[in-house]
Symmetry: C2
Subunit: 321 residues, 2 copies
């Protein structure tokens, strides 16, 4: 029997790195601005095509990213690489534009309760508020992306109707958003569900207008990406090292690790343009900054294999001495 | 775009639990016999259909499993549940039969170098030696399974010709083995490669004579299982908690965690007969015995969510007080 993959995988995929924003905003330790800039600059040298560097939100909400303007001004921008930042409202947009951002992202949830807990508005109020962000941003030549959270499940409501993702994707596209990232915020998506949601969404919009955003809380993120890739979606959000954790389960994995998805893509012959060794170096750098081990499995295997080689080399030297 | 997973996935899958053997043989700490028996007895109450409990190998090779006979005699055997043990030679078979085993497993590698490092014989010498194990076992009414290691990559030789898996599967079937488990010993398999190998193997043998055995070293085990399931293979080897580690990269994940695959299967509507809560309880029991955290992502998310609920409950009490 032939598998479902046969001939369906793309030759190239785009990684949208969200570690500096989606990762660091969940760290209990606030990273010094210079360390964030060093991390983003290291990421810029890996071959990544898109990096979300920060969030222009009220520092009262997310003090970890209070230095958004300084980070945006401080990084070394590599030509051709797309730098983006999260923006919740007109004030955030103005700050982002003033700091030189040329791409922003807006965000909302597919479930009412999560949306209200997150931004203190209903979904329709949130969409209405986007009007004072999206159009003004585009008028300034700034591209706008959108995140839809809790597409595959809500920590408060449980199951989420897949038609919600379709409806929001269409609305956001009509408002001028170029790509909608469908987020599995709590890491409960499974491959069959991903197929069901994408079947509905891709009946309405072309695959390049959609991005995959999975959390690896239950270890299913790569399997979920495989389904999305085989359906023609080629943009995948991920965070270096698996930075971020899961806010609903301390110690559990959050974002899919960039190393894990890049290693998997390369092993299947799918190009990303990313140098995996440089990515691992950037990952080890930010692991030192945040002060704890990162959940990426590829990273752990890489460190473990190197430790073993070092031990061997040490033994070799000892025997020669 | 049309659905592709839908209709290809089975309604039911069988988990072949290998934690007590493949997991514990890689632990640096030797677990007391009574603790092993308690662990296996707990696993027997989860709804698992098959458990590999130990290995009748020379204790000089694997001192962790020197108590194979005591374990086999000490466990509470649940009717209908299949208990198996690894057997390397006639001496091991005799000990296994004497201890009441009714299923054994033989093992070899798909790459010459790994096979020689592992059992100090060539592949053809190993197959020849199986003759004094497989036929005598079957004559005693004992079923025989086989593991083929390094099917997807060898730590010494690198790439392994997929035709090797086909050739060995056919030979082992002809020798009387009822099922061949195709092992990704170092966790380097990717979904495209799994499709390629299984395409060749399943052209020669029916899917029920093959089992999937992936290590989660790079986090791709669930994605690899999804490909195998979609091709009709319904037996999956895994280890509770992800016990076992990777001998080639200290700290990295070894066997696919039983919790992770069972949670994924159930979420896709595929039955296993396993009670996930009982499995998690058995996992936490063995984690205490081995004295370190286990890599299962589902387990970590479960513990994290419970910790959070406990913290909330404590806060609630504090506010009420």
């Amino acid at each position: 029997m032939s598998s479902f993959l046969n001939g369906r995988l793309p030759r190239r995929a785009t990684i949208y790195e969200v570690g500096p924003r989606d990762g660091l905003q969940n760290e209990s330790r606030t990273i010094p601005t210079a360390d964030k800039i060093a991390f983003i600059d290291a990421l810029s040298e890996t071959g990544l095509q898109a990096i979300e560097i920060t969030s222009f939100v009220n520092p009262k909400w997310i003090p970890q990213l209070a230095d958004a303007s300084e980070v945006s001004r401080g990084i070394r921008r590599r030509p051709g690489l797309l730098y983006s930042a999260l923006v919740p409202n007109r004030k955030g947009l103005d700050a982002a534009l003033a700091a030189g951002m040329t791409e922003i992202a807006v965000f909302l949830s597919a479930s009412e309760t999560h949306n209200r807990k997150n931004v203190n508005k209903s979904i329709s109020e949130t969409l209405a508020a986007f009007e004072e962000v999206i159009e003004p941003a585009r008028a300034e030549g700034c591209r706008v992306r959108a995140y839809v959270s809790t597409v595959y499940g809500c920590p408060y409501e449980g199951d989420v109707d897949p038609r919600k993702a379709v409806e929001l994707t269409l609305t956001l596209r009509q408002m001028g958003v170029y790509q909608v990232s469908l987020g599995d915020t709590i890491g409960v998506a499974n491959p069959v569900q991903v197929e069901r949601v994408l079947d509905l969404v891709l009946a309405q919009v072309p695959p390049e207008q959609v991005a995959l955003h999975f959390h690896d809380t239950r270890g299913a993120a790569l399997a979920n990406c495989l389904v999305g890739l085989s359906m023609g979606v080629t943009t995948i959000d991920s965070a270096t090292g698996g930075l971020g954790g899961c806010p609903y389960a301390p110690g559990a994995s959050g974002n899919l690790a960039t190393e894990d998805i890049v290693a998997a893509l390369h092993s299947m012959g799918i190009e990303t343009g990313i140098d995996l060794d440089r990515l691992v170096a950037a990952s080890q750098q930010i692991a030192a900054f945040v002060g704890h081990e990162l959940p990426s499995k590829y990273l752990k295997a890489h460190i473990g294999a190197r430790t073993r080689a070092d031990t061997r080399a040490d033994k070799g030297r000892a025997q020669q001495a």
